[in-house]
Amino acid sequence: MKILTTVKKVVDVELTMHVEDGAIVEDGLQYVINAWDESAVEASVQLKENNGAETTLVSIGGGDNTDMIRRCYAMGIENGIHIDDPALAKADASIFAKVLQKVYEKGDYDLVITGKQAQDTDSGQTGIILAEYLGVPCVSNVIAIEVMDDQHIKVSRVGDAGTEIVELELPAVVTVDVSINEPRLPQMRGIMMAKKKAIDVMDLAALGTSDDEVEGATPKSEIVEFMVSKTRKAGQKFEGDAAEITAKVVDLLANEAKVL
């Protein structure tokens, strides 16, 4: 089985973010592997270990992605592709999916594993759109993957009415939630080996496509402005005798907030 895993470099959400003149202030930001993609990497490596698979990752954009890709190598991914092209500066999910389609078509993959969402967009679209372009089945929000045979996998998905168990014919795309696994920490030996491994860096031309073909200049949607989000203020906090303060708070919920 050949598995393609998508990995995006994203801003660290734990850090404070400032917005000025409609843009996020770059100063003080740090970039990390998208948490959902780290789970996708772990899921791929587990499939390799348990069922035998060849694992490749692809990352689009993000400038210098060497550290992130090496970390994925150290976790057990075998091949890395980095697509970097200034034409993709305004890319939205459907453009990223078009680029991923080109990567997929060059590699004859059986399974694509993407993160459920990128933590910088919180959008959750790219993998699903990719599957539409490829015309292959797709299940999103997956929390377990089991290989049935060469042509089929069985996945669990968190749905509205409970957990859905779905059998998928390969090739297929799945998008995984972070709760699918606990990503491993790379070990020293893996880290040392990862340093020697090459990364296949390409622009769109090297990938065999062009700005026009992926519609890079005309995204279906674009962010025109960032704004500060509404923040809540800390309210009243009570310490002391549990019986007293709890009775007080219940009174406030009923008579001040009027929500009881």
Binding site: T121, I129, N141, A234, T246, A257, V259
Partner: protein
């Protein structure tokens, strides 16, 4: 005039409140409205669908549509969108909506935006507002196509009094099943369980409740209040709560009148799912817990002591 198609949110045979909220918003901005309902045995919902504020009801009712499957579901929505000539297609916040919206958008060659909190129309130009980066920022997104498929965040729009619709049913033919993604089983929620996203009060437990006994203790309070019962990720990972009870960035987004966080620290990813609540109460023994930064009312104390008192005091006030 804008034509807005709303996807009916149906769970266990009941129409959820998001449908009326989205239709209300659509009517308020002067749009022509339609709704599309997909499922099995849903004929009886027709008048509910009209009353929620739709003037046309596209209904795909077929035994093959009983269990959710994204492919056939998307086909029904695309079919309705084309027949209606919709330029805006709105899903309420749901896992099925998040799975289907990008498919519908791709098939229509339209833009797709998830988690939107507002929409602005001027002439043919569509813009949406949405939070991103775990709610740390808001984005204004310009749509460059004349059609937009969107998933609306829970609590973004309100149902308004006096919105009406008319019954005008258009039956959709059942789409072919997806033979390449076959749903084998649904390990479903208990029948009649209160849905987190719909509930007026939501009570969530975190690692502070420690174990099953702690979960059960808080569950009693939730039962008393007929509240939705949710949790932080820590309790889902610990195996104490079902996955679809998780509130947060990668779980459910809720916006109830009252949210109680019991033994939850208030990690940014949890806050991303509940800071839209009207009123927040936090119970935590750590006075420095970040949850207190967003709570309107905070009780610093041991939840095992506080929760039983909370139950008693609420009972008193309710009687």
């Amino acid at each position: 005039m804008a034509k807005i198609l709303v996807i009916a949110d149906i769970k266990q045979g009941v129409l959820k409140s998001s449908t009326a909220e989205l239709l209300s918003k659509a009517k308020t901005i002067g749009a022509e409205t339609a709704v599309v309902a997909v499922g099995s045995n849903i004929e009886s919902l027709t008048s509910d669908l009209a009353n929620a504020g739709s003037d046309t009801q596209y209904i795909a009712d077929d035994p093959s549509l009983e269990l959710f499957s994204a492919g056939p579901y998307a086909s029904c929505v695309v079919d309705a969108a084309k027949q209606f000539g919709a330029n805006l297609i709105w899903f309420g916040f749901s896992e099925s909506g998040k799975a289907v919206a990008p498919r519908v958008a791709t098939q229509l060659d339209a833009a797709c935006a998830t988690e939107i909190t507002d929409v602005e129309l001027s002439g043919d130009q569509i813009e949406v507002i949405r939070p991103a980066i775990a709610n740390k920022v808001m984005q204004r997104v310009k749509v460059n196509t004349d059609q937009l498929v969107a998933v609306v965040r829970a609590g973004a729009f309100e149902a308004t009094e006096g919105i009406t619709g008319t019954e005008n049913v258009v039956k959709l033919s059942a789409p072919a099943p997806d033979l390449k993604a076959v749903i084998k089983e649904l390990i479903s929620d208990a029948i009649g369980e209160i849905d987190l996203v719909d509930a007026d009060v939501v009570i969530s437990v975190g690692r502070g409740v420690k174990d099953q006994a702690g979960v059960d203790l808080v569950k009693e309070l939730a039962n008393d209040l007929k509240a939705g019962f949710g949790s932080s990720r820590a309790m889902v990972d610990g195996g104490f709560m079902a996955h679809n009870k998780q509130v947060g960035q990668t779980g459910k987004i809720v916006a109830p009148s009252l949210y109680m966080a019991i033994g939850i620290s208030g990690a940014i990813q949890h806050l991303a799912g509940m800071t839209g609540s009207k009123v927040i109460l936090a119970v935590n023994k750590d006075t420095e817990a970040p949850i207190f930064n967003v709570a309107d009312y905070g009780i610093v104390g041991d939840l095992f002591e506080v929760v039983p008192i909370l139950r008693e005091e609420i009972k008193k006030i309710k009687s």
